[in-house]
């Protein structure tokens, strides 16, 4: 029997509408009834001044295995996630080979069992080879253990294919997560189309390229009844479409990533590829509207889009560099710093809810709660702790972050998975 007592912390458990100072008891990998007699060998952790939250879930991550282990591995990626306060991650299927059949799903789960320090929930591709044309064996992948469908990194362009995929996915109760990008409108765009792309002479990625797909998704979710989750929203216009759909009860949801509210397209003026991501950084106006969307509940999920790339891949001409940046070890702090401390758009309990209950409910995961009997996944957070980002301290295999040297307020200080501490600051 193993037991841990987290003493005197501020327990915030949105699933049970709980926010109070108290103790949390973990026994044999589960959240225990607080009235249970304390075992004699209980490990006591003083949580005074800390927030005791359900283990955080990152709904959008790239662990890069199989096939791209120079960028990241199951071991390094999950270690970095743990260091960011995450006990569960939902990994994207655009690996090499892509996760478009049950054998790759099984491979990931086996690899995670052997090497991951946190829970890894795989997603499956909607279409074969993430090519947007033929349906992947969705039912078989569901049996193998996927928790959602997505062609992330790509976007099904053909509305008929998307419609049938949604109808088919609905049979299994799987949410479809979509990277919203119209290829004809975006073309070879590498940064937000606007003043800065004009000055810098870089091909523009217009906001309409995202909004038109969010709009399409709204209509297809309404038609099919299948839940569509719009990934990494970057444009203020998308928030308006999402708000309208949700007000009518359409099963459409959306997430944002910290870089889209921490940085604008002006950051690219030095052509630093650490500011290149897809969708691109947009304007202050977009940031304001995204934050407004968080504040009024239109945006329900916070995620990282953790996308590691090797230095030699990123250190090239801007338009030739791959999209994406690291996320795990800075995302919670950036959201705390911006949404809670600086903008006061939401309180700490809602932020935790957006990282726990919301993603768990969206995909039907048995995580994100401190209910008695639930898996003992817990994150301890010091919401006011000031610290400086140092990319060289990262557990990731890669170093592609634009936040090196940033001073942030608030961070995770201990990550507990199944009752066992897997990382502490």
């Amino acid at each position: 029997m193993s037991a841990t007592l987290l003493k005197n912390g501020r327990i915030i458990d949105p699933a049970n509408r709980r926010d109070e100072i108290g103790d949390l008891l973990l026994i044999d990998g589960r959240i225990a009834d607080p009235k249970t007699a304390l075992p004699p060998d209980v490990e006591t952790i003083d949580a005074t001044g800390l927030v005791v939250a359900p283990g955080l879930i990152d709904l959008h991550v790239h662990l890069r295995e199989p096939g791209q282990s120079a960028k990241e591995t199951m071991a390094t990626g999950t270690k970095a996630a743990a260091a960011g306060g995450f006990t569960s991650v939902v990994c994207m299927p655009n690996t090499a080979p892509s996760v478009d059949n049950p054998s790759v799903v099984t491979w990931i789960l086996e690899k995670a069992k052997a090497e991951a320090v946190i829970n890894v929930f795989p997603t499956g591709a909607i279409t074969k080879g993430i090519a947007g044309e033929e349906l992947a064996p969705i039912g078989s992948m569901k049996k193998a253990g996927i928790v959602a469908l997505t062609d992330d990194g790509h976007c099904i362009q053909n509305p008929e294919v998307m419609r049938r995929a949604l109808e088919y996915a609905g049979m299994f109760g799987l949410t479809v997560m979509d990277h919203c990008q119209d290829y004809a409108l975006v073309g070879k765009g590498v940064m937000h189309e606007g003043y800065w792309s004009t000055v810098l002479g870089l091909p523009g990625w217009p906001a309409i390229g995202e909004e038109i797909i969010v709009s399409r998704n709204s209509q297809l979710a309404e038609l099919t009844g299948t839940s569509i989750h719009c990934q990494h929203l970057s444009s203020g216009g998308s928030v308006r479409i999402l708000r309208d759909a949700r007000s009518r009860g359409v099963p459409l949801s959306g997430e944002i990533c910290p870089h889209h509210i921490a940085l604008t397209d002006e950051s690219i003026r030095g052509y630093d590829t650490n500011f290149k991501m897809n969708p691109p950084l947009r304007t202050q106006r977009d940031i304001d509207l995204l934050i407004e969307g968080v504040a009024d509940g239109t945006i329900t999920v916070l995620a990282s889009d953790h996308a590691p790339h090797c230095n030699y891949e990123k250190e090239v001409e801007f338009d030739q560099a791959p999209f994406g940046i690291l996320g795990f070890e800075t995302e919670l702090s950036l959201f705390l710093d911006i949404l809670v401390h600086k903008k006061k758009a939401i309180g700490l309990p809602r932020l935790i809810e957006m990282y726990t209950l919301e993603p768990a409910r969206l995909l039907g995961l048995d995580r994100g709660t401190l209910s008695v009997g639930a898996p003992a996944d817990v994150t301890l957070i010091a919401p006011d702790l000031e610290w400086t980002v140092d990319k060289n301290q990262s557990f990731s295999r890669s170093r592609n972050t634009p936040f090196h040297g940033w001073e942030l307020k608030g961070r995770a200080v201990r990550t507990i998975v199944g009752g066992r501490t897997v990382w502490e600051v």
Binding site: G187, G194, Y195, T198, V199, L200, G201, L202, G270, Y271, Y312, E315, V316, E317, F318, D319, Q320
Partner: protein
């Protein structure tokens, strides 16, 4: 003229800005004083070309590499000749003959050239920002010979030099830049140079190729060429290409000529003494009438000649910074 002459010209007390840049990446970051210094230095070098012995020893012993990842003949030849006139050794590397086709990164290619003691790398590249990328990573001087749709600083310097030479000043001059502004590095560099030196700039072209975003730079945008022509002192016509661009930007070259071509009829609306410029290569009968290109208004070949002097000045100034380091 000895090589020391231009150097002495930057010393007098009324010259506020000594040249401190090892690289020339773009004109956006240059001050009016720095641009003027290049133009003054170029004026001194222009004489060299008229002499019997067209060479000065300023860069003797230095090696310049023309790294042209994107094809170009006229700019490459102009830089090559400029380097020869300064007595530098010149190597030409084109994309098709380099390891870039074998997957070597630009950084590695350039580092290899530097390991061979290249002092100056002149870079032409299809990616915006490529020159800045190399400039930050090399000890060698990096001269931007055109990076994507970003900047083509020596072209704009030679354009500005030509305006100043022909009209006596740049401040207060009204320049219309006509054509495909969206994809044009020449337009961007010209806008920066002209505005910094106090000129007025109007951009003219189809709405798809002249986005309103440019107005934030301080220029005027219009789609009505006829009303602009009587107002301006200079028209700078950009090469219009239909084959390379996506066809949705404008319907045909014929319609382009009808709306934005400098036809004979339109040219009559110009002020007496207004200049016609073009960075070349020209499409006769498309953006410019053939006779207008050869008329007394046209300073197109003067631009080419001045390009040599301007590039000598840029090489000389940037190499000088490294030599004194």
């Amino acid at each position: 003229m000895s090589a020391a002459t231009p150097l002495q010209q930057q010393k007098p007390t009324n010259q506020p800005a000594p040249w401190t840049r090892k690289d020339l990446v773009g004109l956006q970051e240059l001050s009016a004083e720095e641009i003027t210094l290049v133009l003054d230095t170029a004026a001194a070098f222009k004489d060299v070309g008229t002499r019997e012995i067209k060479k000065v020893p300023a860069l003797r012993g230095q090696t310049m590499v023309n790294l042209f990842v994107e094809a170009s003949t006229r700019t490459r030849v102009s830089f090559e000749l400029a380097a020869h006139r300064l007595s530098a050794d010149v190597i030409n590397v084109s994309a098709s003959s380099s390891s870039l086709t074998k997957g070597e990164t630009l950084k590695d290619t350039a580092k290899n050239l530097e390991a061979l003691h290249a002092d100056i790398i002149v870079l032409r590249h299809s990616s915006a920002g490529a020159s800045q990328f190399l400039a930050e990573r090399l000890e060698a001087s990096v001269i931007n010979a055109g990076d994507g749709a970003h900047e083509h600083p020596t072209q704009a310097l030679l354009d500005t030099f030509t305006v100043r030479e022909k009209l006596g000043r740049v401040a207060g001059i009204h320049v219309a830049i006509i054509g495909d502004i969206l994809f044009s590095r020449v337009a961007r560099s010209n806008i920066h140079a002209l505005l910094k030196l106090g000129a007025k700039v109007t951009l003219v072209g189809p709405s798809t190729l002249v986005p309103r975003e440019f107005e934030r730079l301080g220029v005027t945008v219009t789609h009505d060429l006829d009303s602009v022509l009587p107002e301006v002192d200079v028209v700078n016509l950009l090469r219009i290409q239909h084959e390379r661009q996506r066809k949705e930007y404008f319907p045909s070259l014929g319609e382009y000529t009808a709306l934005f071509g400098l036809t004979k009829q339109r040219a009559e609306r110009l002020k007496p003494g207004a200049l016609v410029m073009h960075p070349g290569p020209i499409n006769r009968g498309v953006e410019i009438d053939s006779d207008i290109a050869d008329s007394s208004r046209s300073v197109i070949l003067d631009q080419v000649t001045n390009g040599l002097a301007v590039r000598m000045a840029v090489l000389y100034l940037c190499a000088g910074v490294r030599a004194f380091k």
